[in-house]
């Protein structure tokens, strides 16, 4: 039986947005925490730590996100405990986000002029104080624009959670399409909703880039 596309179907799509937003939020917080560690490891004085972080980034940026989600999902099942799709997607996106944010923030940390490092070392500041008081505040300023840009990527990436069965916006679109057979209308609306979420972020990121684009001395 083919259902009509009514306001109920539209509402179903709109309600699914909260799961997209929730997953994005969890993955962003998780990815940011992991990303700080990865970025610090990438810029650490220890060669082995830089190598570990480098390998981590290479693996997560060199393989498809979809495979990473599959490995978390099926890996957890293999370990004995089942895992619900939301948790699997959140873990997968967090690990992936940590690699991307780690690489972005590494660039921001290394963009801080050498003189700043040397001066703070010469002043006898300990690593923690040097990072917290001198380097990271300056790096944070140039990190904002690419981080907002990453957020756009993340919101779009959550659509892959639909493939492991989590009912967020894209999966909701598939469900409605299977019932109504109106692919253009349904996926057009789904695309429009993503656009409304992502476009302001893209514009904001570009605006910030213009504002803080150059490394301040």
């Amino acid at each position: 039986m083919i259902r009509q596309f009514t306001s109920a179907e539209f509402l179903f799509l709109l309600m699914a947005v909260r799961w997209t937003l929730l997953l994005s939020a969890i993955a962003f917080v998780g990815g940011a925490l992991g990303g700080v560690l990865v970025a610090l490891a990438r810029t650490s004085p220890y060669a082995w730590l830089r190598a570990v972080a480098g390998t981590y980034i290479q693996i997560f940026q060199g393989t498809p996100l979809l495979m990473q989600l599959f490995l978390v999902f099926f890996g957890a099942t293999m370990l004995g405990g089942g895992i619900d799709p939301l948790t699997a997607a959140a873990i997968g996106l967090t690990l992936n986000g940590a690699a991307f944010l780690g690489e972005i923030w590494r660039g921001c940390i290394q963009a801080i002029p050498k003189g700043q490092w040397e001066a703070s070392t010469a002043l006898g500041l300990h690593y923690v104080t040097r990072m917290r008081e001198i380097i990271l505040p300056q790096a944070a300023k140039i990190a904002v624009a690419p981080t907002v840009g990453f957020l756009v990527l993340l919101v779009k990436s959550t659509s892959l959670a639909s493939i492991i069965g989590f009912v967020e916006l894209t999966r909701a679109g598939q469900i409605v399409n299977n019932a109504t057979f109106r692919p253009f209308l349904v996926f057009g609306i789904v695309a429009a909703i993503y656009f409304v979420l992502c476009w302001p972020l893209s514009l904001y990121s570009r605006h910030l880039e213009k504002k803080f684009g150059t490394v301040s001395r």
């Binding site: 393989t63 498809p64 979809l66 490995l71 293999m78 779009k156 659509s159 692919p183 996926f187 992502c198």
Partner: protein, 224 residues
């Protein structure tokens, strides 16, 4: 944990997996080539075209960059047949990949074209080069050289993203893996092997791009 890894069935299916990887490579390479042409045209339209063209390019780039690839595939694969355009899964996958990478590459190529100084073009014309020669040697060639690293990392990202086309059952590597998974239930083993294959392919593409750079662009360094 008392799970016993069994890779036997995965390696029995090695020929199928290689065939899938080959299709991933072919789809990606074709999408890169066609996508680059789309990007060059759009970037020219954006930098030198009349206002409606610039506006259209903007809409194309912004819409593609701010919606998920998966939704774009669904629109193309399920939506186009409703308009009378029949595409099989592989064709729909290629089209979606071209549309997607074309938009990202447009932004990159446009940035490259903007690094070319107006004076260069005037100088080229003054030297008696034909407009098409100025376009090729003075604008596009140095522009592509300038943006080569970002362009190629975008291309590698496209190859990885192509795993998503398994959602419409194109027969590339991920779809082969999914079929194998449903026959053998050795999910983790299959996906770990396939993940390693993707990693190998992204390293391979990176190496190929490096060779292309040396063959095409590095000579112009020496000539300076």
């Amino acid at each position: 944990m008392n799970y016993v890894f069994q890779f036997g069935e995965v390696f029995d299916a090695w020929p199928e997996l290689l065939l899938g990887a080959w299709l991933t490579i072919r789809l990606s390479a074709m999408a890169m080539a066609i996508g680059l042409m789309v990007a060059i045209l759009c970037a020219l339209g954006k930098t030198g075209g009349p206002r409606p063209v610039r506006w259209l390019v903007d809409v194309y780039v912004e819409v593609v960059r701010n919606t998920p690839f998966l939704v774009q595939i669904f629109l193309i694969f399920f939506g186009l047949p409703r308009m009378g355009i029949r595409l099989d899964a592989n064709e729909a996958a290629l089209l979606a990949m071209v549309v997607n990478v074309g938009a990202y590459a447009t932004e990159i190529v446009r940035a490259g074209i903007e690094t070319i100084h107006k004076g260069q073009i005037e100088a080229g014309l003054a030297l008696g080069l034909k407009p098409i020669q100025v376009f090729a040697y003075v604008v596009i060639f140095p522009a592509l050289k300038a943006i080569y690293p970002s362009l190629t990392s975008q291309f590698i990202l496209l190859m990885l993203t192509s795993s998503v086309v398994s959602a419409i059952s194109a027969e590339e590597l991920t779809a082969i893996a999914n079929n194998l998974q449903s026959q053998t239930f050795r999910s983790f083993e299959i996906y770990i092997v396939v993940t390693a294959m993707y990693l190998a392919m992204s390293l391979m593409f990176a190496a190929a791009f490096e060779l292309i750079y040396r063959a095409v662009f590095a000579r112009s360094d020496a000539a300076r």
